[in-house]
């Protein structure tokens, strides 16, 4: 399923407004139905922002519990999915801050020098490089990148979900892409050691 399909199916059509309304009034069974409808997408998004299954599970769990607590405040029930995504992204921010990477990152020196340009995603090395690079960009930028590229949401909608100006969403995406590029370039250079005390 493409990103555009995901967006169309998961953020607009699948959630029944009546079920949201019942859950909003305290019906736990209705909320359980909602949870089963949205949790796969929420988890997929959380994993792609945090790049860690354990952290993604924690973010999902915290977001679902918090959404239940705050559901009575939701006025526009047809905006439930956007609203719960906003809560999830904030849960990801917290998980990311709480689980600050501490271990020193030591890269192996490439035997044949830096990677050849434009290797394509088929290359395992490129995937690893992207994984490394993505972890280095700020979580707020990762969130915009994932909502836009994975969920296929227009930047205006991403901005609406995150309650940030559209220009901010655009600049975060720009900096995410630039950050990826810079990190990939840095990855092709000699060893550095990272690590900083809180």
């Amino acid at each position: 399923m493409s990103a555009a399909d995901r967006s169309r199916h998961h953020l607009r059509d699948e959630v029944d407004r009546d079920i949201v309304e019942r859950a909003r009034r305290g019906d736990r069974e209705a909320y359980a139905v909602l949870v089963h409808q949205v949790s796969d997408t929420l988890y997929a998004v959380a994993f792609r922002i945090l790049r860690d299954t354990g952290l993604a599970e924690d973010a999902l769990q915290n977001a679902l519990v918090l959404a239940w607590k705050r559901l009575p405040h939701l006025r526009e029930t047809d905006r439930f999915e956007a609203w719960v995504h906003r809560i999830l992204v904030h849960a990801c921010y917290d998980e990311s801050r709480r689980s600050r990477p501490w271990t020193a990152q030591v890269r192996e020196l490439p035997i044949d020098g830096p990677s050849a340009p434009d290797m394509g995603i088929e290359s395992i090395a490129t995937r690893d490089e992207l994984e490394h690079a993505f972890r280095r960009i700020p979580v707020e930028q990762r969130a915009v990148f994932v909502l836009h590229h994975y969920l296929g949401l227009p930047l205006v909608e991403v901005a609406g979900i995150l309650e940030i100006p559209a220009g901010t969403a655009r600049s975060r995406l720009h900096y995410a892409t630039a950050g990826l590029r810079d990190a990939l370039i840095a990855d092709s250079e000699p060893i550095v050691q990272e690590g900083r005390l809180a």
Binding site: Y43, L60, A91, R97, T126, A198
Partner: protein
């Protein structure tokens, strides 16, 4: 692979990879928690008169009428209102330091802010260490402190619940961050079963490891120390593990239970962390 178009193409393809189904265990855990979690009451007043039901409109009109008539009587009575007396009765300024509380801006982190908190009276924030040149005063959690300008700050908008370790997930705590590490500050009403520091502290010491299981288990040690923050006695519970460290301070003031916590992932020594935490706590000031 560093030109922008090929990079974006590769990144789009790469971001598609990964799990697409939530683990059942995670969903089940969430549903189990929800079984025992009450929803917040929606206390907001409809923003527009036309959003209200007919009976609500009548009640609102009656309330407004009573207020208008009452205010008119008050202002027009012999002698009128002494509008200057409020300023005269404000607390005497303290000698140092000079920062004075004013209601902080409406927090924007939480999607649904809690009802407007009671405005704070004027009070001075204690002096902080060198470099702690930013001041935050929370009218939600009713405290003030200083933090370094190099740190980032996310305000919370929701008062913590009674008998609750703050839910991680935006809005339930102020968060002071240095890079990806940081300190949570929150407060919530004390419950009748845990009305003082002793009972509140014992409960937190038991509840915290249950909520944050990574700070317990093999290789972890636990310690406690007594300290003072903002002139009030406090208890710090330390959880020191091979890969995780938490310093969690509890205090009580003005009917609220305060929790100030430093959570981190890494093999830290208490001797390294504690001086940093103490510096952070130095300026902590409870609102009167």
């Amino acid at each position: 692979m560093t030109d922008d178009r090929s990079l974006e193409r590769a990144a789009r393809s790469w971001v598609e990879t990964g799990p697409t189904r939530a683990p059942e265990s995670a969903v089940d855990r969430a549903l189990l928690l929800i079984e025992t979690t009450p929803q917040e009451r929606d206390l907001r007043i409809p923003r527009r008169f036309t959003d209200m039901t007919l009976s609500a409109r009548l009640v609102a009109a009656a309330v407004i009428g009573v207020l208008v008539v009452g205010a008119a009587f008050y202002l027009l009575r012999p002698g009128g209102a002494d509008l200057g007396s409020a300023a005269a009765s404000s607390p005497t300024p303290q000698p140092t330091p000079t920062v004075v509380a004013s209601p902080s801006p409406t927090p924007t982190l939480a999607p649904t802010p809690s009802p407007t908190p009671t405005p704070l009276p004027s009070f001075a924030v204690r002096k902080g260490p060198a470099g702690y040149d930013q001041v935050h005063i929370s009218d939600v959690y009713r405290y003030g402190l200083r933090y370094p300008s190099t740190w980032t700050f996310d305000p919370g908008g929701l008062l913590n619940e009674s008998d609750a370790i703050p839910v991680v997930g935006g809005g339930w705590n102020d968060f002071y961050s240095e890079g990806n590490s940081g300190i949570y500050v929150t407060a919530g009403p004390l419950s009748t079963t845990r009305p003082d520091l002793a009972t509140f502290s014992v409960w937190v010491a038991a509840k915290f490891p249950a909520d944050y299981s990574q700070y317990t288990g093999a290789g972890c040690t636990q310690a406690t120390r007594n300290l003072t923050i903002g002139g009030e006695p406090a208890v710090e519970h330390d959880y020191l593990c091979p890969q995780h460290t938490a310093l969690w301070v509890v205090a009580v003031h003005g009917g609220l239970g305060y929790q100030v916590g430093w959570l981190d992932d890494g093999p830290f020594k208490l001797s390294d962390l504690r001086p940093k935490f103490d510096k952070f706590l130095q300026s902590f000031t409870f609102a009167p």
